[in-house]
């Protein structure tokens, strides 16, 4: 069975460490915040200028001056800091964020990522995604392994305009957890009940399959 969005978030959350500063993109990455392990303290960075994003506000706490990068109303947790956009991207670009999780349309065996633009369709902009992928060492991309039509999103070479070049080393899809190394995807884990064959079939880029590919457990 392919992983649900919640299971994908759960799997990514296992990469968190106590004391990590983490930037979570919109969509599945946002859900990771729901699975921070008990007893672990993680500080969420929101690129509009908030380090220490808290939960959504109660009805009587809603404040138009307090939003996250998705423009949703939020709160600040104890120990949070608020700053300008230049400061926010200084910490992102400067490599101070410990883990970045974001979605993508495609990734390839060279660690390229395409996530912001589909030519011929409406272009809304890259927001902070190009800065995030350029600045972070530790990035996890979350996406479905293949499109609804069955087209692989793990490619030999990205077909869409890039968000960043050679910057992705780890990908979690609904079928597998893979690392990118030496011009290939390395299959590290598979979703429960998903065969290596199915993953091979749905991976267009070069795939290296180790002898043992453990199933994820939830």
């Amino acid at each position: 069975m392919a992983l649900t969005r919640e299971q994908m978030a759960q799997r990514v959350a296992r990469e968190l460490e106590d004391g990590f500063y983490v930037n979570l993109g919109i969509g599945i990455p946002t859900l990771v915040a729901n699975y921070i392990p008990e007893g672990m303290d993680v500080m969420l960075q929101s690129e509009n200028g908030l380090l220490g994003m808290g939960q959504f506000p109660a009805e009587d706490e809603v404040d138009p001056d307090m939003i996250n990068a998705g423009k949703q109303t939020v709160t600040a947790r104890a120990g949070a800091a608020i700053f300008s956009s230049a400061e926010s991207f200084a910490m992102i670009r400067g490599g101070h964020v410990d883990l970045t999780v974001l979605g993508a349309f495609e990734v390839d065996v060279e660690g390229n990522i395409a996530s912001w633009m589909i030519p011929g369709k409406l272009i809304k902009g890259m927001g902070g995604a190009m800065d995030l992928v350029a600045g972070a060492d530790n990035i996890i991309v979350t996406m479905t392994h293949a499109s609804k039509d069955g087209e692989s999103k793990l490619l030999e070479q990205c077909s869409l305009p890039l968000t960043g070049a050679g910057c992705i080393k780890r990908v979690l899809t609904d079928l597998a957890y893979l690392e990118i190394d030496n011009g290939a995807f390395i299959l590290k884990e598979r979703a429960p009940g998903v065969s290596v064959e199915e993953i091979k079939e749905k991976t267009a880029g070069k795939l290296v399959v180790p002898d043992d590919v453990p199933e994820m457990t939830f």
Binding site: S46, E47, N48, G49, L50, Q55, F56, P57, A58, E59, V62, D63, P64, D65, M66, I67, N68, G70, K71, Q72, T73, V74, A76, I82, F83, S84, S85, A86, S88, F89, I92, R93, N112, M117, L122, I123, K124, G125, M126, G127, G128, A129, M130, D131, A134, G135, P161, L162, T163, G164, A165, G166
Partner: protein, 233 residues
């Protein structure tokens, strides 16, 4: 106005000197911390052919979105413009020139513009369409592209509190691009919720020192919320 007193008392006075074809830097992220009354004054004056530099372009009927209604903006430099149907139509019809810029690069372009730095190298955008045609240099084995600073004829800024001298404090995440825009305008206009006497603000808590600010005006704000999200109680 005498000495360092930057106060003005009408929005007409606040935007005095704005002309067709000028470049306007605007603070704000989404609808948070936008100089909504200064934008309304630009609309009232019907100046056009503006280049607007702002992270976003408001929504239909609010924020910078109202300047699209009469086609006052001919060029926009922004990182994300997805919340606005009129904008999409003008972009697709080629009526508005859109220069998409990564958010951190946009912030740094304004910061550099105000800090006397004409250009800077960043890894952001290298190997992507954003890097095409830009100078590339390698430092310590990594590639960087040269990005140029931005300055504006006007900077329009939303603060929380200011004193007569134009020292400004922002409120919570309404800070965002505002202090950066404030440094990079030839004429910087700040509208705030409250103007206080000099000495009332703690000097160590000032976000934008008055040296960057030319005009201060006190206004009232709608502060529209784009995505109201609450938790179940």
């Amino acid at each position: 106005m005498a000495g360092f007193d930057k106060r003005v008392y009408s929005y007409e006075e606040a935007m005095d000197g704005i002309e067709n074809g000028m470049t306007v830097l605007a603070g704000g992220f989404g609808l948070c911390g936008i100089p909504e009354n200064l934008i309304a004054e630009i609309k009232r004056r019907q100046v056009n052919d503006l280049t607007v530099v702002s992270n976003n372009c408001g929504v239909d009927g609010f924020g910078l979105g109202i300047l699209l209604e009469d086609r006052q903006i001919s060029r926009i430099i922004a990182s994300y413009v997805g919340e606005n149907a009129l904008f999409e139509r003008q972009m697709l019809d080629g009526e508005i020139d859109v220069q998409l810029t990564p958010q951190g690069t946009l912030a740094e372009k304004m910061r550099a513009g105000g800090a006397g730095i004409p250009a800077f190298y960043t890894a952001t955008g290298y190997g992507t369409p954003i890097g095409e045609g830009k100078e590339v240099r390698e430092f310590d084995g990594r590639h960087y592209i040269l990005e140029e600073a931005i300055k504006g004829d006007f900077a329009i800024v939303k603060g929380w509190k200011a004193d007569h001298f134009g020292n400004v404090i922002y409120r919570k995440t309404a800070q965002n691009f505002n202090p950066l825009a404030a440094t990079a305008g030839r004429i910087t206009v700040v509208e705030v919720e409250e103007i206080v006497e000099p000495g009332e603000l703690d000097p160590a808590q000032i976000h934008t020192p008055g040296i960057y600010v030319d005009r201060i005006i006190q206004g009232t704000f709608e502060k529209r919320i784009e995505k109201r999200t609450v938790r179940e109680s």
